[in-house]
């Protein structure tokens, strides 16, 4: 009937979790302190100053500037401490470290589709190694979802039409809940899964154990050829389209004077809505691939582009 255990606190299974919990404990301490302060004061005053006769005349006390300043300044100071602490944690959770293992996730009503770079794919499950930073590149095929792993203390909305990212480093092997945490329709509460954290060696065995079709990047290369991207995007800027070597992270000069830092969202937009941003010095002739390639396909192409490093001695237009 009832569950045999009554958990009161979630597992700490990531490097971030103890840090979040530390801030939580501080917040709890502050809350308990002020809650007790106020409730005890109320009860004490209500008892000590209870009305004993109808002719009582309480003293005239209008206020105290000193007290007002005190009990404005102290909460202000405490909240600023909370703010700074929370902001620092937020920065840590927002920006993945550079050596993170990248895994693609496509959400749709009502399942999680996971794609490992080595080619293995999963549904509603994510196997990862412990002790290794993992970065998820997330997008949705339909409505807004949210990737939430309580044991890691991480959460990010998953949006249609763009990518969001989430990173964590699992610290402890085990199986943990994955929840969708943004209401997404009928089976929202069924859009759950498992994060399976393995020892690094076990993970390496598991992930090497054959997905069909090879790695994500290889699949991306295949699409790059079959969709005709390779016809225009030649190396060394010799084609009708700009070269894509070393694109990720590069600053791209656009027509109209602006520029943009090439990230996954930029590449996705360039594939699906190429006229949105035209690279300076090029014509707006790229075909629109919206409808011709799936979200998974776009992610595979991006994985492939990430493998394209500039050739030694390549000049290229700036």
């Amino acid at each position: 009937m009832f569950g045999s255990n009554l958990p009161l606190f979630p597992d700490q299974a990531s490097t971030l979790a103890p840090r979040v919990d530390a801030l939580l404990y501080f917040l709890l301490a502050v809350s308990v302190f002020f809650s007790l302060l106020i409730s005890i004061s109320i009860v004490a005053f209500a008892i000590k100053y209870r009305r004993r006769s109808d002719s009582e005349r309480p003293p005239l006390i209008l206020g105290s500037l000193g007290l007002e300043i005190f009990w404005t300044a102290v909460p202000l100071a405490i909240t600023m401490v909370i703010f700074v602490w929370g902001a620092k944690l937020f920065f840590v959770s927002f920006y993945p470290p550079p050596n993170a293992l990248e895994i693609n996730v496509v959400a749709k009503q009502w399942m999680w589709k996971v794609q490992h770079p080595e080619g293995k794919s999963e549904i509603d499950e994510l196997h990862i190694p412990a002790g290794q930073a993992v970065k998820l590149l997330l997008t949705s095929q339909d409505v807004i979802h949210d990737f939430f792993v309580p044991a890691f203390r991480v959460k990010k909305d998953v949006l249609p039409g763009r990518y969001t990212t989430l990173w964590f480093e699992a610290s402890k092997p085990g199986t943990y809940h994955l929840f969708c945490a943004q209401y997404c329709g009928t089976q929202h509460s069924g859009m759950v899964g498992r994060i399976i954290v393995m020892e690094p060696l076990a993970y390496a065995t598991w992930v090497g154990g054959g997905g069909t079709g090879g790695s994500t990047a290889a699949a991306g290369e295949k699409l790059f050829q079959t969709l005709g991207c390779a016809t225009c995007h030649l190396p060394n800027d010799t084609g009708r389209g700009p070269s894509l070597e070393g694109l990720m992270g590069k600053t791209v000069a656009l027509q109209g004077g602006k520029s943009v830092t090439a990230d996954e969202n930029y590449v996705r937009e360039s594939i699906l809505e190429p006229r949105a941003k035209i690279v300076r010095g090029y014509q707006p002739i790229m075909p629109i691939f919206k409808g011709s390639v799936s979200e998974e396909g776009v992610l595979q192409i991006i994985s492939y582009i990430k493998t394209l490093t500039p050739q030694a001695g390549a000049q290229g237009k700036k």
């Binding site: 109209g256 809505e273 190429p274 006229r275 949105a276 707006p284 629109i288």
Partner: protein, 216 residues
């Protein structure tokens, strides 16, 4: 007890308090209207900065002559409205009715031109929805432009229609002798409302019709 009918409503102490309350009430109402239109302006600004070319080429499809004429018409109508308010303040009821009529004529002319424009857009398949046609790759941003065009000018037109109805009611009341130099608050307040609707158009016109002009 009172010499002129309804010199002030029963909840007020005197006509001065009533006038003050009515005037403040209209200004507070106009503040809500600023926020109402403001939401759409905000959305518009957001998408315009995201899709400058799409918005510019979509804006090119609007009839700038009709838009300019409409702007002139509306400014004139604010002038006639101001004259009506002034006439009301000096108790010249005949002049009030003349100027209110002129304002209605100009307002109706504005609406007529507006609906002509809408009809043209309908014929050109530029109404967002399943039948939207826009050549070129900028079709999505153009459709968003036209969504805002219709939503904003449509909401403005609704306010114009309400304004014309209010003006009509004012003419009826003036003809029945309800206003005088001592009591003409409704004329003043409808004037405020009319000027506000005019100002909204003054913002709408350049934002919608003049987007790409400076790009040449």
């Amino acid at each position: 007890m009172s010499d002129t009918p309804a010199i002030h409503a029963h909840q007020f102490d005197d006509p001065v308090q009533q006038h003050e309350a009515s005037w403040l009430g209209m200004w507070v109402f106009l503040a809500t209207e600023v926020m109402f239109f403001g939401g759409m302006f905000l959305g518009y600004m957001f998408y315009r900065s995201a899709y400058p070319q799409g918005f510019a080429s979509a804006s090119d499809r609007l009839d700038i002559w009709l838009g300019t004429i409409n702007t002139a018409v509306l400014i004139c109508s604010s002038f006639t409205m101001a004259l009506a308010v002034r006439a009301g303040q000096i108790g010249q009821n005949r002049l009030v009715m003349i100027f209110l009529c002129l304002t209605i004529v100009l307002g109706t002319l504005f609406l007529g031109i507006k609906f002509t424009e809408y009809y043209q857009k309908f014929e050109e398949r530029l109404v967002p929805g399943n039948d939207f046609r826009f050549e070129g790759a900028l079709v999505s941003s153009a459709e968003i432009f036209f969504s805002f065009y219709f939503a904003m000018t449509g909401m403005h037109a609704v306010h114009m229609i309400i304004g014309v109805s209010l003006l009509t009611a004012l003419i009826v009341k003036t003809s029945r002798g309800r206003f005088s130099a001592t009591y003409n608050t409704p004329i003043e307040l409808v004037g405020l409302y009319w000027h506000f609707v005019d100002i909204v158009w003054i913002f709408l016109f350049p934002l919608l019709y003049l987007v790409g002009r400076h790009l040449g």
